[in-house]
């Protein structure tokens, strides 16, 4: 019983975290057809911004509750700056290239950002544990869980809801969906694709940075965290079907729960399980679970 509970809670917490990271990645791919390797760096930048600001904030003896707003604010600013800088300053000159070439382009951006992070924040770890410990822990059935993790689940649910609502229930969301479905047609019908691209990229960058900022209090922020995260996010979006936000949600749940199962039953299989599940899904559904159907040649 306790085991099932632990697996369930850990799994859902991990899934929430995965979805936060993967949502931006899959959104950018869906709209722009760019599999953005630099997404991991957005995550890292968000984590560093959050952690360093939290450190300064608590050192100044400010009211603790507002530190959560600070995390959100840090992610917003970081996402906006990095997203705009990369999309407007560089990426837009590369549009129209092959999807594989775009992977390499974003790989180059990732390499640059990794060192930019080291230059900005140094190589020593940052700790921003206060928001994490502040919320305390809850005992359920003899097991102790961090309340911060429950908050993470709620925030993810909120993000998922907002994404779903704005994609399906708003005018701009419908326009975005039309671009996801058929970019040329949408362009022909007068949708300003350039503007949509910029907005999407910034939102995606924000989501990546937001995931990082929210994670920062629970970990020690060190160089290279983005590199680890990006491949997890890839696994999630590939399982769900590239470009599908709903797919990323399901993919995150699948990966999160199977990892939690493995961690509790067979800890050595932790990483193996994630990619094993990915291989299994792709062997039967090569396009992922919720792929947006593509047209075939001739």
């Amino acid at each position: 019983m306790n085991l099932a509970l632990a697996v369930l809670v850990d799994g859902v917490v991990y899934s929430s975290w995965l979805f936060l990271i993967a949502a931006g990645l899959t959104l950018i791919y869906g709209v722009m057809k760019i599999l953005n390797m630099a997404h991991g760096s957005f995550y890292a930048i968000g984590a560093y911004s959050g952690a360093s600001l939290i450190g300064v904030y608590f050192a100044g003896g400010n009211p603790p509750w507002a530190s959560y707003l600070l995390l959100v604010g840090a992610a917003l600013v970081a996402g906006l700056i990095v997203g705009l800088l990369i999309e407007r300053g560089f990426l837009r000159f590369m549009y129209g290239r092959d999807e594989v070439v775009m992977i390499l382009v974003t790989y180059g951006i990732l390499l640059i950002l990794e060192d930019a992070i080291k230059l900005l924040w140094g190589v020593d770890p940052y700790f921003a544990y206060q928001p994490y410990t502040l919320l305390g822990r809850t005992k359920i059935g003899g097991l102790s869980f961090a309340n911060y993790d429950f908050m993470l689940i709620c925030v993810t649910a909120l993000v998922a809801l907002v994404l779903w609502w704005s994609l399906n229930r708003t005018r701009s969301g419908k326009i975005l969906q039309s671009v996801i479905h058929d970019r040329e047609m949408a362009g022909a019908l007068g949708v300003n694709v350039t503007k949509i691209f910029t907005i999407t990229f910034v939102i995606g960058a924000f989501l990546g940075a937001f995931a990082g900022a929210l994670t920062a209090p629970g970990i020690s922020v060190v160089p290279g965290i983005g590199i680890e995260v990006i491949i997890l996010a890839f696994a999630v979006v590939v399982i769900g079907g590239l470009g599908s936000v709903g797919g990323a949600f399901v993919g995150a749940l699948i990966v999160g729960l199977s990892r939690a199962l493995s961690v509790h039953l067979y800890p050595d299989g932790e990483l193996f399980v994630i990619y094993g599940v990915m291989g299994l899904v792709l062997a039967f559904r090569p396009q992922g679970l919720f792929a947006i159907a593509g047209a075939r040649k001739i």
Partner: protein
Amino acid sequence: MLSKNQIFVVAAAALMILAGLVMPYWFSFLVTVALAKGLVVLGLVILMRAGLVSFGQGLYYCAGAYAVGAFSDYFQTDNVLLLVLVAIVCGLVISSIVGLLLSRYRDIFFAMFSMAFSMILYGVLVKSAALGSSDGFNVTKPSLFGWAAEFNGTNLLSYWVAIILACVAGAIIWRYMRSPMGMTGEAIRENEIRVEYLGVSVQKIIYIKYIIAAVLASVGGSITAMTVGHIDPEMAYWTTSGEFVFIALMAGTGHVAAPLIGAVIFELMRTFAFQLSPYTWQMILGIALLSIIIFLPNGLWSLTDKFKKGAN
């Protein structure tokens, strides 16, 4: 009868082998590791010529290295010929299974899926206590039937083996690229449908190319293991595979020599950049990568074409 090119290659190889006796150890070490990576990239180039970019050649690089490490440890052997052979068999076996699945994929799916497989190996190795977990383990220095080729206190055997293997592999792949099988790769990149309608299974050809690339990568891994004397799961991590893609892109796919020479340039660049500024060498690589994609999409080797045209 040897052609002019063949004589040139044999002479260059002989010169390099002799030069090993006088060059500083750090340089022969660098060249050995570079050629090992060059072999991996050579395999990647074969795939790239068919329009497929693998972000997972680290799988075979690492598997070849671990095969050498485990085999030499278990059977207490340091015979270089045997160890390279073990790596080849290892690459062959894994790729003939994984390739069945991967040959169905193209474009980014191929790239992502190949990356996933290398990460599976990484995930397994990191947690395998018997294989040293994330620290890896040490590999013995090779010998040729007991002869370690010691000169001035340095072991030159793996350097020589690397040069010979690079030349042999280069020559074989050079012929391969000009053969109908090799050229069909180009045809697949350009138009898969036409190839199918010309009566050939595209999937089968990609499968074969994938295996060739995997064997080259595992040979590269075996050389690295014997040269460095230490292996760890990092060899299967996706950034290692990314490095191979980087070298292939930088060097270009126009000629078999490109990845081999490109790998040496890359290692030199990396060594000096890392010494000059350890915190910005990745940035330098990133900027170089973007510049090449923008200004030299066919890699450094395409400069030789421009040079030739200019001379005529």
